[in-house]
């Protein structure tokens, strides 16, 4: 595949699918906004940049996990943040990861606050047999939504993963450190051979 030397962004030929996913770059503030939109509604950020297929699949996968979590009586537990005997760091971290599914978390917290039919539908019993497994589903949904949002941000600001070092090195590191002249001499010889 060809690469644009100025931007190092792969240029796909016609009818050629690029191996890595790339999006046109956007300003940083816009990328943050789209990542936040994706945090609120999984897949919405991808839909906003026009990648509707990926958005639909993401929305389906993440929200299905969230819905199954609710079906299994998954719950959001808001722990005490005061430093004292009731302080529980695991519960706080669990809530933090669950909250990475923004829309779902806001909906559940609002349902718990409002009560009524919505509360009866969405606020589950933490003592039910599968409630911990359900809460774990909510946790996974939040984690996956974080991965999707962070990836969207990276794609929009043009972040590229560092390439791995080439494996076929001929010069050993030790010889260079011990006696740089040896390395220099050998490289000079190899240059001469190449010139021949």
């Amino acid at each position: 595949m060809m690469t644009n030397p100025a931007t190092a962004v792969p240029i796909a030929k016609e009818n050629e699918t690029p191996e890595r996913l790339t999006y046109p770059q956007r300003p940083r503030w816009q990328s943050v906004g789209l990542a936040l939109l994706n945090w609120l509604i999984p897949g919405a950020g991808y839909a906003a940049v026009g990648d509707f297929l990926r958005a639909g699949i993401l929305c389906l996968i993440i929200n299905l996990i969230f819905a199954i979590g609710l079906y299994l009586d998954g719950y959001l537990y808001v722990p005490s943040f005061r430093l004292g005997p009731e302080f529980n760091i695991v519960a706080i971290l669990t809530l933090a990861v669950q909250a990475l599914h923004g829309g779902g978390t806001i909906l559940l917290l609002a349902a718990a606050e409002v009560g009524g039919p919505l509360g009866a539908l969405l606020v589950r019993d933490p003592g039910a047999p599968y409630s911990d497994l359900g809460a774990f589903h909510l946790l996974v949904a939040g984690g996956l939504n974080y991965v999707a949002s962070a990836r969207l941000y990276d794609l929009l600001v043009g972040y590229e993963e560092p390439k791995p070092a080439p494996k076929n090195r001929t010069t050993t590191v030790n010889s260079t450190f011990e006696n740089p002249a040896i390395h220099h001499a050998s490289s000079t010889e190899s240059n001469k051979e190449e010139q021949k």
Binding site: L21, I57, L144, A148
Partner: protein, 62 residues
């Protein structure tokens, strides 16, 4: 379905979902997406099996 089977089903479903999402965010072609998902899922399950085995062995000494 018994409690244990629900747990095992959840394990398979959630691990597959994680692999699907990661592959979806990384690949562009359909064939590569399927290949990467299957490869990741197998590695994930293998890692989980190793951890499960280790935990089981440790229970014998606990």
């Amino acid at each position: 379905m018994t409690y244990g089977w629900v747990m095992v089903s959840s394990l398979l479903y959630l691990s597959l979902s994680v692999c699907l999402v990661i592959s979806l965010l990384d690949t562009t072609s359909k064939s590569r997406f399927i290949k990467e998902t299957v490869r990741r899922w197998c590695k994930f399950l293998l890692g989980l099996a190793v951890i499960a085995l280790l935990v089981q062995v440790l229970t014998w000494f606990g």
